[in-house]
Assembly symmetry: C2
Homo-oligomer: 220 residues x 2
DNA sequence: TAAATAATTTAGATAAAGCTAAAAATATTT
DNA sequence: AAATATTTTTAGCTTTATCTAAATTATTTA
């Protein structure tokens, strides 16, 4: 059994090693968790002693296969709770993460199995991220440009190219945000602009340039 | 903001002072929480400094009105989560308490308001205990003998006189336990035995003697 | 490549929440 | 009312997860 703190480190190290090179630096962990590098070193020692990490002094940290298994189960719990908060309690997409950070540490296998069943075994969370199953298998859907979809395709917005401040402002105005469900209604051949339906409500036209800067996960 | 441990002490002291005399002894707290009396003394000092308790050395502890308010909100969370686990996730009555002990410490007001709404503002938990409302008001229903109910009354079993080992065994056999919902179908004038329906399923007859040893909370 | 800079680790400190053992206060018996 | 027993508190220790400051190793730059 792991403490909440150990779980948070493990999850962070797993996430950092997935979204980059396999060797995770002490500083990157410290930055993410907002703790001091010396605290990170301490925790790395603890988790290494439990064979959940491999660590070479001054070189970096790797997650072990046991560590990975545990991390994935924490992520599973996190994302299932996010679905619950979003779908059942009607929280907004940007409110669920913080609460799920607390709920994910509740340790009761039966609770998670029953929650999963109750939510009808969802495959993705409100941000479009895949939910690992009981056995830790993850169905990773690639993130593609909205401009690459075809008519009648459905997707969830998972990322926005935010180099450009104006784009975010515009998306905010037409109510597109991370987690929004979008259906492609029409594609105009002339300029590749597309007509979309946002969250089963408003329909709008967006230019190809905008559609190229929205990353989505295809669903069904 | 209180730590989980502080919350557990506060809740315990509130419960002990409700179910007995107002002065709570260090030993009784220690017994309930399975910590050593010396640890209890330490925590009492901490909570007294926060004005949540009043304490006189060697004499005993009282909960303050601020302490009471906080304790009631923790109990509110606990009982709402119990309803969720019981009604939505289909846990058994005797499984919900342990899980709710963890869930009750999650601190997010909006979460509890939304959970309350989602559960349709329940008034009692699966054990028949009242759920305090947002303002901390508790609708305390008296616990009465099952033998005192009238035809068509509904109730929840909240206590069983367990001096007699045979009674518990018998109740187990006919599937009556704490939290069971019972409807009175008929009362036989001759011997005051009653016909009841248990959890909207099986109907049985029980003697007046048995009915006198089951304490219930009337509902609707 | 040597010096400067950055990253990482070590050593030692702190606060929270528990513990044991002993002292002090209170309660109960004889 | 003394002696004994019980309860409560105090003093000091442990573990967990942090921290700061200093030392060590790695990397970058001039």
């Amino acid at each position: 059994m792991l403490t909440t703190s150990e779980e948070n480190y493990l999850k962070t190290i797993y996430n950092l090693s997935e979204s980059g090179k396999k060797q995770v630096s002490t500083n990157s962990i410290s930055k993410f968790l907002k703790t001091k590098p010396s605290s990170v070193t301490d925790m790395i020692k603890k988790l290494s002693a439990k064979k959940l990490l491999y660590h070479k002094k001054y070189k970096g940290t790797n997650i072990s296969s046991n560590g990975k298994k545990l991390a994935i189960q924490i992520i599973r719990k996190h994302r299932l709770w996010e679905v619950f908060l979003f779908e059942k309690l009607n929280f907004k997409w940007d409110e669920v993460h913080k609460i799920a950070e607390e709920l994910e540490h509740i340790t009761n296998e039966k609770l998670i199995e029953k929650l999963d069943k109750y939510l009808k075994y969802p495959k993705i969370d409100p941000h479009g991220d895949p939910i690992p199953n009981k056995n830790g298998e993850i169905n990773i859907k690639p993130k593609i440009k909205l401009s690459n979809l075809l008519i009648n395709n459905n997707c969830i917005v998972s990322n926005v190219n935010d180099d450009d401040g104006n784009l975010l402002e515009y998306l905010n105005k037409i109510k597109i945000h991370i987690g929004s469900k979008i259906k492609v209604f029409d594609i105009i051949e002339y300029d590749k602009s597309i007509e979309i339906e946002i969250d089963s409500k408003n329909k709008v036209f967006i230019s190809n340039r905008v559609a190229e800067n929205i990353l989505v996960t295809k669903i069904n």
